[in-house]
Symmetry: C2
Subunit: 448 residues, 2 copies
């Protein structure tokens, strides 16, 4: 295997994690990475903090540059090179240089597709105007940063109240803009049940964001090629800057065009070793499918944690080793100013869709012993299956120290624990960290 | 059962948790609690923060007063009443009023022993002098608080570098005293392996505590009935205040005198329903035995979390319900100024004592994404069984946000997870909360 050529398409988390794992195991193998952006291995999740000025330079978000990969790891990372076609029968890919426009065919023995996901930007009236941004690549983050510095917008509209939408709303408030947020849901954060989402909506209002809920984006008003307003099904909101946070879609067109099987939300279907339907072709990261350990169904999620794990598994397998990626439980966390939000497992809607019956508990507690300075509120919601008592999901909203508790629930979900087993857990306690019953256990006690 | 009489000995966490559970299930039953101190249901763990002035009054540490129990819960909580003898055959206890000195026999149908634990204070030369304190009851915390206010000591010695010792060392530094700490171990915090304990020793030195390690207390110097110094096997340390933090011992003498079987460290042996060897007699809390789910052996631990859980289980069973306490994994956490320390499972020494072979990994990482403001260091040690890869223990030392991660390890230990399963966990990630690989997973990756 040392002399075979591995081509990796995509130089971010999954691709470079795989490439690095292969390099570690097979020191002499040829590894070529094609990345269409100028950057490798960056933290997309860090962009709101760079834009907010909490992180000074975009370079700080880059874990390893193409030069580092070439010089220190002997990984031939080629940026501004876009793979535009897969020839699976011929075991080669057609690569276009985004600098020169020239194209060439590059042969491979093994191929890893790690093309990521891109922000969903609906094509609507005015959507090509300046000032409208999605956020998925570091380059897009740098564009927003530059736009803010150069154009000094005063009013911003964020479309979509998911993680990126919320973090960008905070960022823009920090920068002194008037910020409105449009979401078609009953509350922001549609990955939470509405009774928990309302706490996040309230937090957003408290930091000064004007919310327009149950409203949908229908288009943009523009003048001289620039956006001047966001049009919803109910009103027009003036804005010089629009952030579209309507989620991402997997970059799977290349794979689909080559006949590789797609799965959930058009992500590339893989087995647990990250093999696609085509022999010798692997996929990992935001473009690849995952598996939900609670619903026991195929699932797609675009998150750095999953991309890193899948990339690692692909890299071990591509080196002749054996590793599997068992799946996810749907864990996510976010911070909006002082408020922390986290979720794992299934929401009420998902549980109903599966035809399961369930019980719920929502409790309010404290992040520390009530008498300890800085104790803040925390609300925990748990969902458990009727009869078995098996934990099905958890949601947390609260102040400092609230959110990372979700990891206990993620671990319990993975282990298939019941709420009774949650009550019995020997979790840590000292007054600066928790009440004597950790809030997740206080919630579990209501369900036993 | 509504008309039978329940007597509870001890009015803190376990006793009152049991009594409250019984009251909830059986509204009319007679419940009498005898407590020798003036207080019920207080947070012993909060005493260092009360003494430090972070918590203003000792009343804030009391969750429910005897009056509240009597008036709101119809629980006859009698304080300053000490049970001095159990007559199991006669189903009665002899109670002494600590106010009047009078004694009486009180009959019961069911008896719960929840007598707690008390600080170990070795009887040595000078140990009866003023200024030497153990800390286990709220009354003892109030005495230390008063001594500090009235006597204005300048130099303090803390004997023992466990949780209470460390928290009191911090407290006394905060109050402006010169603080020395004597511990006979290689490092403080003997519940950690020395390679992690050294990080805590360094943290203590950094906050200004002078450490004397590998030294043992041999006695005290006194003058006019007051302590003036601590004598070790190597030196004499001048001090007007001495805090002895050498651990606690279960208050099991009453039970032992009545012929009830004792177990680990002379705690009262119980089954998982909290029944003692004597029919109709139950025990819970710091005086009762527990079970270690990792070593699979009887275990004793005096912690509020365990006391509350055992009290709850006893209360359910005493109400005619059915509940079991499966055991603990040995989780504990503490904060010393800005440093956080946590542990769960088995140390290297304990694993060797069990005759198991193991692997270890120690890693240093960050509490947040490296580029995010406030990212601090965190060190994680994991221990796993050779062959099976089963997690056996974990230890964490670090800055803000480090310690509560121990709960993931406690949950994984309870579920019997392997380090590979830890690597695969879908833990939460966002830059304000974690690097993309949570530090516990970075450690686990070294072991697969």
């Amino acid at each position: 295997m040392a002399t075979t050529r591995l081509i990796v398409i995509g130089g971010d988390a999954a691709g470079m994690s795989a490439a690095s794992n292969v390099r570690r195991k097979v020191p002499l193998r040829e590894i070529v990475v094609f990345e269409r952006s100028p950057h490798t291995s960056y933290s997309a999740c860090g962009m709101p903090y760079f834009i907010a000025g909490l992180v000074e330079t975009s370079e700080q978000l880059v874990a390893r540059t193409p030069e580092t990969f070439r010089e220190k790891f002997n990984i031939d990372a080629r940026v501004r090179q876009e793979v535009v076609e897969l020839d699976l029968a011929g075991q080669r890919v057609r690569v276009k240089s985004l600098e020169s426009g020239s194209e060439s065919w590059e042969p491979y023995d093994q191929l890893l597709i790690a093309t990521g996901a891109e922000a969903i930007l609906p094509q609507l009236q005015g959507s090509d105007a300046d000032g409208i941004f999605g956020l998925s690549t570091l380059a897009s983050g740098i564009r927003v940063h530059r736009f803010l510095k150069q154009q000094l917008p005063r009013r911003a509209v964020v479309v979509g109240g998911g993680y990126i939408g919320l973090e960008m709303a905070e960022t823009l408030v920090r920068l002194g803009l008037q910020v409105s947020l449009v979401d078609r849901g009953e509350q922001v954060m549609g990955t939470l049940d509405p009774d928990m989402g309302v706490l996040v909506s309230e937090a957003l209002r408290e930091i000064g964001v004007t919310l327009y809920l149950r409203e949908s984006l229908t288009g943009y008003e523009t003048a001289n090629g620039r956006v001047t307003g966001v049009v919803t099904d109910q009103r027009t909101l003036p804005a010089e800057l629009v952030i579209v946070g309507l989620g991402t879609r997997p970059n799977s067109e290349l794979a689909a065009a080559a006949g590789i099987t797609l799965g959930e939300k058009d992500s590339i279907r893989v087995n647990s070793r990250m093999q696609t339907s085509s022999d010798g072709v692997w996929a990992a990261g935001d473009c690849a499918e995952s598996f939900h350990l609670v619903s026991r169904k195929p699932f797609h999620v675009a998150l750095g944690t999953v991309a890193n794990k899948q990339g690692r598994v692909a890299g071990i397998n591509l080196s002749g080793g054996y590793a599997t990626f068992p799946g996810v439980v749907g864990t996510a966390v976010s911070k909006i100013c002082k408020y922390e939000v986290a979720r794992t497992g299934l929401t009420e809607r998902k549980i109903r869709d599966l035809g399961l019956l369930y019980d719920t508990a929502v409790i309010k507690s404290k992040t520390r012993a009530g008498y300890y300075p800085g104790a803040g509120w925390i609300s925990v919601k748990l969902l458990s299956e009727q009869g078995s008592g098996r934990l099905l999901g958890g949601q947390i909203v609260g102040l400092e120290g609230a959110a990372k508790r979700i990891d206990v629930l993620a671990t319990a979900l993975t282990a298939g624990m019941t709420v009774q087993q949650l009550v019995d857990l020997d979790l840590s306690y000292a007054p600066p960290f928790s009440p004597v019953w950790d809030p997740v256990q206080t919630a579990a006690r209501q369900l036993v």
